[in-house]
């Protein structure tokens, strides 16, 4: 699957099927600091992501 990341903007390919929480773990990202979005839908961490899914992992932390 193609995964879109920010800060800096880039995309990576990850082999599916995989649960959202395992994709985060593979990228060394913590759930508490990110949203996982499939297409334009927010999904929970137990959702299974497939090879043809377009995924955005959006950081939620700002400078404060």
């Amino acid at each position: 699957m193609r995964v879109q990341l920010s800060h800096p903007e880039r995309s990576v390919d990850i082999k599916g099927p995989k649960k959202a929480k395992d994709v985060l773990r593979e990228l060394n990202l913590v759930q508490e600091a990110h949203l996982v979005i499939r297409g334009d839908e927010l999904i929970t961490e137990d959702e299974l992501l497939k090879d043809d899914d377009l995924v955005e992992i959006r950081p939620v932390i700002s400078g404060g």
């Binding site: 508490e32 137990d46 932390i61 700002s62």
Partner: protein, 310 residues
């Protein structure tokens, strides 16, 4: 995973509450957390006029959205700092929200442009006065938001500070034992002296992840991009550390910050001690009249130095 309340498919899980929600139930949860904060901390009433400090980010736009949808009289102020490649984008997000969401509720947006008012952008001002950009930004925003709220007689000024902002700031203050700053960590700062607006933080019970989810699910178009000036800031490091702890031990952040608030209230009501201290320490700035500990406030000092360095 299904919604804890209505059992339909969930879109977000909240480990700290051992819950998951669908979009409508999550929106209700967020609104209830804000309403609880407003009531529990006695922030403002239904007839009060509120000035929301907006930046184009998820937190302040979510706050404005929630207040308007709950029937509060909330206008907003945006301070355009003139950050190259960033301010124009964030300003466009705020203006779009004001046109599409706020105006139909009868709310207005005001814009203060630093370049127009002070003759220079934030980066140039920071260089001229030899201060870090984030510190200069903080001084300008605090000054302009307070000034607008006082001059236009708003009952209260509201900011989008969330649980992560407050917990990370508390961690920073505790790590360096800056106990003189702990009083100011309350979600409500009273109008302790003339010239100070009452300030409230209605989002202190909600995490950044929850607010980003709220913005996304409610189609609030916010600036995802990080401010280029915030790179390498200590606050980001503290937030990262707290989020690692939160992921391993859900609830850490709210137990840390809410626990602090509880202990502070037990020791002495924060508003009483703060009002007494402020009244003893503060007096009007000789240049602009806003409260300050010195003869001239830090904003006026900064602007004077900027003029000399022209």
């Amino acid at each position: 995973m299904n919604c804890t309340k209505c059992k339909t498919k969930a879109v977000i899980d909240l480990p700290r509450h051992n819950a998951a929600f669908c979009t409508p139930c999550f929106t209700t949860y967020v609104h209830h957390q804000v309403l609880y904060a407003i009531k529990h901390q006695r922030m403002f009433g239904p007839d009060d006029r509120i000035l929301v400090a907006v930046s184009g980010g998820k937190d302040s736009l979510a706050l404005w959205d929630i207040l308007l949808k709950r029937g509060y009289r909330a206008d907003a102020l945006y301070v355009d700092l003139g950050i190259p490649g960033y301010s124009a984008k964030s300003r466009a997000k705020v203006e779009r929200f004001a046109d599409t969401v706020a105006r139909p509720h009868g709310a207005t947006l005001q814009i203060h442009t630093v370049q127009e008012e002070e003759g220079k952008g934030i980066k140039e001002l920071a260089n001229l006065v030899h201060r870090p950009t984030c510190a200069t930004c903080g001084t300008i925003k605090r000054y302009q938001f307070n000034k607008a709220a006082v001059e236009q007689e708003y009952d209260v000024m509201a900011t989008g500070h969330n649980l992560d902002d407050e917990a990370s700031r508390l961690l920073g203050n505790v790590l360096h034992w800056q106990d003189e700053y702990l009083d100011k960590q309350s979600p409500i700062l009273p109008a302790s002296v003339e010239g100070f607006a009452k300030k409230v933080k209605p989002l202190y019970r909600l995490s950044e992840r929850e607010l980003a989810a709220y913005a996304l699910l409610n189609k609030i178009d916010y600036i995802v991009e990080e401010c280029p000036m915030a790179k390498g800031s200590k606050m980001l490091l503290y937030k990262e550390v707290l989020n690692r702890l939160e992921t391993e031990s859900p609830g850490t952040k709210h137990r840390f910050y809410w626990g602090f608030l509880e202990k502070q209230t037990q020791a002495q009501p924060a508003s009483t001690s703060m009002t007494e201290k402020d009244q003893a320490l503060l007096h009007p700035c000789k240049t602009c009249g806003q409260p300050t500990t010195g003869e001239i406030c830090s904003y006026c000092k900064m602007m004077a130095r900027a003029k000399v360095s022209k």
